[in-house]
Amino acid sequence: MIASIALMTLDHRQNALQGIRATLSVVVYPMQYLVNLPFDISNWASENLRTRRLLIAENSALHARELEVQVSLLKLASLERENKRLRSLLQSSSRRWERVLIAELMSIDFDPFRHQILLNKGSRDDVFVGHPLIDAAGVIGQVIYVSPITSTAMLITDPSHATPVQVNRNGLRAIAVGTGEAAILDIPHIPNNADIQEGDLLVTSGLGRRFPAGYPVAEVTTVERNPAEPFATISAVPLAHLDRAQEVLLVWAEKEDEPEEHVAQEEQEE
C-alpha cells in the first residue's frame, strides 16, 4: 500500500517512472497486439477483397485529387518563398515544421472518461513525450507516454488538456480546454468585450512551444455574453476527426535558433 502511494506520488509529481511504465507497456504490448489483431485482419480483408471496378474507380478519384493537390502545391511553393522573404524583411524568425510520420491507431479502449489513444509508433521511431499529433483536418492531441513500440496520446478534448490557440481572424489569443466530451472544447477567460464570434476558426498559436503554430484546432460554436459575469462562456467544436481517425500524423519541429520571449505554461496542466 505504501509502495503504491509512493508510486503514485512519484509518477504524478515528477516523471521519474517513465522507464518502469515503458517496460510494463512492452509487456502489455502482446496483449494489445492480440486485441488489435481481429480489427487488423478485418481491415486487411476488406482491403484485399475489393472488386476490380471499385479499385479502378477509387484510383481515378485519387488521381483527380492528386492533380488538384499538386496544383495547389505549386502555388504553395511560391507562397512559401514570398512568406520567407516577407518574414526576413520583418526580421522575425520563421519556423518550419518538417518531418511527419504517419502512425496508426490501435483498436484499444481506454477508460471512457479519459480521452486517450494508443499509437503504433514509439520511441523506436523517435516519438517523444509532448509530440504534437494532427490529422488532415486539425490538431488531435499530444503524446503523453512513450514506450519503445507504442505510445499513448491525449486528445485535445481530455479534461486535463489545454491547447494554446488564437482566433484566425484577428489573432486574439486564448486557451482551448478539453471538457471530457467528445465534441466540445471550452474557451475560458475571454472577456465579454473581446472580439470573438460564432464561426471563428481557432488555430494553434505556437505559444507553449508544443504545438506548431497555425494548425486549425476548432471552430467556435457558441458565444454567450452575460454582463453579470466577468468572462464570456465560449465553446468550440474540434475540427479533427477525433473519434473517427484511423491514421494520424506525428509532426517533428525543426530546431529553432531564436529563443522566444513567451514561455507559456498553459500547455499541459496535468
Binding site: M1, M8, D11, Q32, D109, D111, P112, Q116, I144
Partner: protein
C-alpha cells in the same frame, strides 16, 4: 509455480491475461460505460479459491498492469486491487459458502469500493470522473459474477489448479 503442491499456475496467469485483454477490447460507445471490471473479478475469484497462492502481491502487480493499460497514474489501480485482494482474503472462508447471489452482492461492494478509491485518487489529482456513469461497471460486474464464477471454477477443476 512448479512445486509439487502447486500446479496450473499458467491457468491463473492466462485468466488474468484474458481479463486484461477484455479490459482493452474496443466496445461501442454506449457499451464502454458498462464494461465490467474483468481483472478485479478474476482477482476476487482466485483470492477466494486459492488464497494461499493469489493474494495482495498478485493484486498489486495486476493493478500495475491495469494502470499502464488505462494510462492512469502508476499505482492507482495497484493500490485499489491490493486492497480488494486483502478484503477478499479476509472474507474468503465466508465467501466460499455463500450462494452465488450473495457472492454477487459482495462483488458489487468490492467493485464499488475499488471505484470509490479510484474516484478519490482522481479527485486528489484534479481529474474527478465527470458523471455518475463512472459507477456503472460495478453493476455489470455484479450481474456477470455468477457466470464468471462458474467459468473459472470449471477451468480450475478441469486443469486441477491448486
Amino acid at each position: 509455480m512448479s512445486s509439487p503442491y502447486h500446479r496450473g499456475g499458467w491457468v491463473i496467469i492466462m485468466s488474468f491475461g484474458i481479463a486484461l485483454m477484455l479490459t482493452m477490447l474496443p466496445l461501442p460507445d454506449w457499451a464502454a460505460y458498462w464494461r465490467p471490471e474483468w481483472a478485479t473479478m478474476v482477482l476476487i475469484y482466485w483470492c477466494m479459491a486459492l488464497p494461499e497462492r493469489v493474494g495482495v502481491a498478485t493484486g498489486w502487480v495486476v493493478g500495475l498492469f491495469l494502470d499502464v493499460i488505462h494510462g492512469a497514474v502508476l499505482g492507482q489501480y495497484a493500490l485499489a486491487l491490493a486492497l480488494i485482494a486483502y478484503f477478499t482474503l479476509t472474507l474468503h472462508q465466508r465467501l466460499r459458502i455463500y450462494p452465488l447471489i450473495q457472492q454477487s452482492l459482495i462483488v458489487l461492494l468490492l467493485v464499488l469500493m475499488q471505484q470509490l478509491l479510484i474516484t478519490w485518487i482522481r479527485g486528489f489529482l484534479g481529474q474527478p470522473p465527470a458523471s455518475l456513469t463512472h459507477w456503472l461497471p460495478s453493476l455489470t460486474s455484479m450481474l456477470l459474477w455468477a457466470w464468471m464464477f462458474i467459468v473459472l471454477r470449471d477451468l480450475r477443476r478441469h486443469f486441477r489448479v491448486n
